[in-house]
């Protein structure tokens, strides 16, 4: 079929988009004399139905075995014209497109002669390459119906719920020993009579009894192989040392001699080495923190259900999935020691510490108390860690902190009606539904708002009293407010080890470290890597509503993929010519996807490309010293022919 090249060249006018700047007649006459060209046609819109007919007719009547279409960018219509070839019985990869619109007529519309000359040269280069094109076979994979979700926060949970309801098998992994992420530790939420843990419990309730969902806590990602529809994933389940027999009797906690700060309560309380991170944590099983455990075995001795096994080892788990959802969430910004007095005075706390203090299940059982005393003069400082407020702050707005600050100020007003509350802000952004009313209500409740531009100065006096000094932008005067509690409304930052996850799954990130979508507006929950989806705050700050929405959106995208029986991918991958391969294996080190393996053939060793793993970058081809490694669609001789055609007359 692809023997002696018989090339048809089809030149599109694109209305006046091309024909307005390129002399089509002159180009047609020029192209007729190019080697191997047996037909040249031009038409007003080659992508239209009659235009496509012209190509099909040419293929049949002139016995074409290669087609060159000179029109718009291949990103626009390469797919369309490949289908035309296929419908005419020609292999779709025997097409070469020439971009004479975006990269010629549109940018040279001021110089018709130059545009015409460039169009001729570009077509000449494409004809040269087309002569060397080969028929290629698309790679198809059967789609595995399982899904891996990384992260057990609200975004991951809502994805898991939606996918399991559609009948897909879901592996939900969570690095921590508890499910629920950041939301689980929030106190009362705005607009609803629910706490953060209630949202998590409701989602869990819809998830835990579903036999399609496998929740794996203490579990981390080790490696991901394969590609869209057919990922092979390795996980490691770190030991919890306590099994499901645990009945939360707390005998173990009583005897444990180790006491450390509880990170789940943001350091507000202490915990033992065997502990439950916070009240109502799921799964309701104690966990042993092996870093701090002294292996004294006291807990083992007292456990009435024999639930503790200190000899437990990490367990490797392998799963095969068709799609991966990354819902790894975020971390609250942690102020530096000394930043706004944080870490210097115990009266300076973060918004998340306040959430815990105001929570009835928290360390103070909901009483507003600092060092055992109820504060009365309270100053909130917003944009801590956001909007470039301090040198270490991130440049973005964290979206949820303004509303959360106001909500907490109103809760304090309920609990301590005579509290004096100031909210120092750069700008109040209560954009989410109902939040503007919250802002108005705060005003009515005599919560005072003051605007700063330069970061306020939190001065901790020797008698431990605090003054917050700043320049008030509205009244244009310096102000000093005495405070016995300063709350820093911290924003969100990417989770600590997100780089490890994104390197394993191969997803890009933006300048601040949040994961990057395939397209900010058009594909907000898809990663650029096929079969990988992104949900929740892992792509940037979101509130609870937005995170759950994103989880659902990712689930919907996943099910679009998984309901297909097979996926097809372009076969523009690397291939080895065994006879030329010297077995130097330079390509093995170059490949970013571990797609190249060594194969013993007779007494020689040769490289071999796994078509399921190769993504078609061609880096190995450029590194091959013997020319044995080639890339379909971009072989050395094909690219060289383009170079050659650009210069030979």
């Amino acid at each position: 079929m692809s023997g002696e090249p018989r090339i048809g060249v089809y030149i599109c006018h694109c209305g006046v988009n091309i024909a307005g700047s390129v002399n089509i007649k002159e180009v047609v006459e020029y192209v007729k004399n190019l080697p191997n060209v047996v037909e040249v046609r031009d038409y007003i819109f080659m992508c239209s139905a009659p235009g496509q007919e012209i190509i099909k007719e040419g293929i049949k009547k002139c016995g074409l075995n290669r087609v060159v279409v000179a029109a718009c960018s291949p990103t626009m219509h390469e797919h369309t014209f490949r289908n035309v070839l296929a419908e005419a019985g020609l292999n779709p990869y025997l097409l070469e497109m020439v971009n004479i619109r975006e990269q010629c007529s549109w940018v040279h519309s001021d110089n018709r002669q130059a545009a015409t000359t460039k169009a001729k040269l570009l077509i000449k280069m494409a004809v040269a390459k087309a002569s060397l094109l080969e028929p290629l076979k698309e790679i198809t994979f059967k789609v595995n119906k399982n899904v891996l979700i990384i992260g057990g926060g609200v975004a991951g949970l809502s994805s898991a719920r939606d996918l399991a309801r559609k009948g897909f098998n879901v592996y939900l992994i969570e690095k921590k020993p508890v499910i629920g992420g950041n939301v689980a530790r929030l106190g009362r939420l705005a607009h609803v009579e629910l706490k953060g843990i209630d949202i998590v419990k409701e989602l869990l309730h819809q998830v835990v009894d579903n036999p399609n969902i496998h929740i794996l806590t203490n579990t981390e990602l080790v490696s991901v192989g394969g590609s869209v529809g057919d990922f092979k994933v390795k996980l490691v389940k770190n030991p919890r040392y306590v099994n499901e027999n645990c009945n939360l009797c707390s005998e173990c906690v009583k005897v444990c001699p180790v006491e450390v700060s509880n990170e789940y309560e943001f350091g507000l309380s202490k915990r033992k080495a065997i502990y439950l991170p916070y009240r109502n944590a799921y799964p309701p099983i104690y966990v042993i923190d092996s870093e701090n455990c002294t292996r004294c075995f006291e807990c083992v001795k007292v456990c009435p259900t024999q639930a503790i096994n200190l000899a437990e080892k990490p367990e490797e788990i392998e799963v095969e999935v068709g799609a991966i959802v990354i819902a790894a969430g975020h971390e609250p910004y942690e102020p530096l020691i000394g930043e706004f007095g944080y870490g210097v005075s115990s009266r300076v706390i973060t918004l998340f510490q306040l959430e815990r203090i105001l929570d009835e299940d928290g360390p103070t059982k909901g009483r507003l108390e600092v060092n055992g005393v109820q504060p009365k003069d309270i100053v909130f400082i917003t944009c801590v860690g956001s909007l470039n407020t301090t040198p270490n702050a991130y440049p973005y707005c964290s979206r949820m902190c303004c509303s959360s600050t106001i909500k907490n100020a109103l809760i304090i007003k309920e609990k301590v009606p005579n509290a004096n509350i100031y909210i120092l802000h750069k700008d109040i952004r209560t954009y989410s539904r109902g939040d503007e009313q919250l802002y108005l209500k705060a005003g009515e409740s005599l919560i005072r708002f003051a605007r700063y531009r330069e970061a306020p100065n939190v001065i901790v006096n020797p008698d431990e009293s605090i003054n917050v000094r700043f320049f008030e932008e509205t009244i244009q005067e310096p102000v000093s407010i005495p405070a016995d509690l300063v709350v820093l409304s911290v924003g969100m930052k990417p989770p600590r080890d997100i780089d490890k996850v994104r390197t394993i799954v191969k997803v890009g990130c933006g300048p601040e470290g949040f994961l990057r979508e395939a397209h900010l507006k058009l594909r907000p929950v898809e990663a650029a890597t096929d079969g990988v989806y992104l949900a929740g705050t892992v792509t940037g700050p979101k509130n609870i509503i937005e995170s759950i929405e994103a989880g659902g959106a990712a689930a919907s995208k996943v099910s679009t993929l998984l309901t297909r029986e097979e996926v097809r991918i372009e076969p523009l991958i690397a291939v080895v010519n065994d006879e030329k391969c010297s077995g130097c294996l330079i390509c093995v080190g170059i490949c970013p996807y571990n797609a190249i393996k060594l194969r013993i053939q007779g007494d020689a060793r040769v490289a071999e490309v796994d078509p399921a793993l190769c993504k078609g970058c061609g880096a190995c081809v450029a590194s091959c010293p013997t020319g044995a490694m080639q890339q379909f669609g971009f072989k050395d001789n094909q690219l060289e022919s383009q170079v050659l055609a650009a210069f030979t007359e």
């Binding site: 960018s73 040279h108 061609g618 880096a619 170079v643 650009a646």
Partner: protein, 142 residues
């Protein structure tokens, strides 16, 4: 140098960033000199230095390799592989007496059509100043 010298410059553009930037220049109706002929590759890491030597040998007055910014490569770090190769190639070109202004490696993201236009204008101006590449001469004197 002759006023009517029109250099011919080959551009190897990666499919994901730089080729898209060139398309964006078109859809934004920007203008740049018509001297640039684009060869599309999937990744700047696919560009074999041999192609560039071949282009100069065949009569190119300049070559531009354009890829995604470091950290943004669609194939993780193909652009870094290109950077390594092209750094070596620059030394080889110097040995051949090919002026360094004739070859550039640039990071041009999909949204940086204006950067391509700037680079194209700069390159064209520099190469026009240098005049046509006479490879035989360059080789003998280099």
């Amino acid at each position: 140098m002759s006023q009517d010298f029109e250099p011919r410059i080959v551009v190897f553009a990666c499919n994901w960033c730089s080729y898209a930037a060139l398309d964006l220049a078109g859809t934004s109706r920007m203008k740049y000199p018509p001297n640039f002929l684009v060869i599309r590759v999937m990744c700047s890491g696919r560009v074999d230095p041999q192609f560039i030597l071949e282009a100069f040998r065949r009569g190119a007055d300049g070559v531009l390799v354009a890829g995604c910014h470091p950290g943004d490569c669609h194939y993780i770090e193909g652009n870094i592989k290109a950077l390594r190769r092209m750094t070596l190639l620059k030394k080889v070109l110097k040995e051949f007496g090919i002026e360094e202004e004739r070859f550039r490696l640039e990071w041009i993201s999909a949204s940086e059509a204006d950067k391509f236009v700037r680079v194209a204008n700069e390159m064209l101006e520099e190469i026009k100043r240098l005049g046509p590449l006479r490879i035989e001469e360059a080789y003998q004197h280099g």
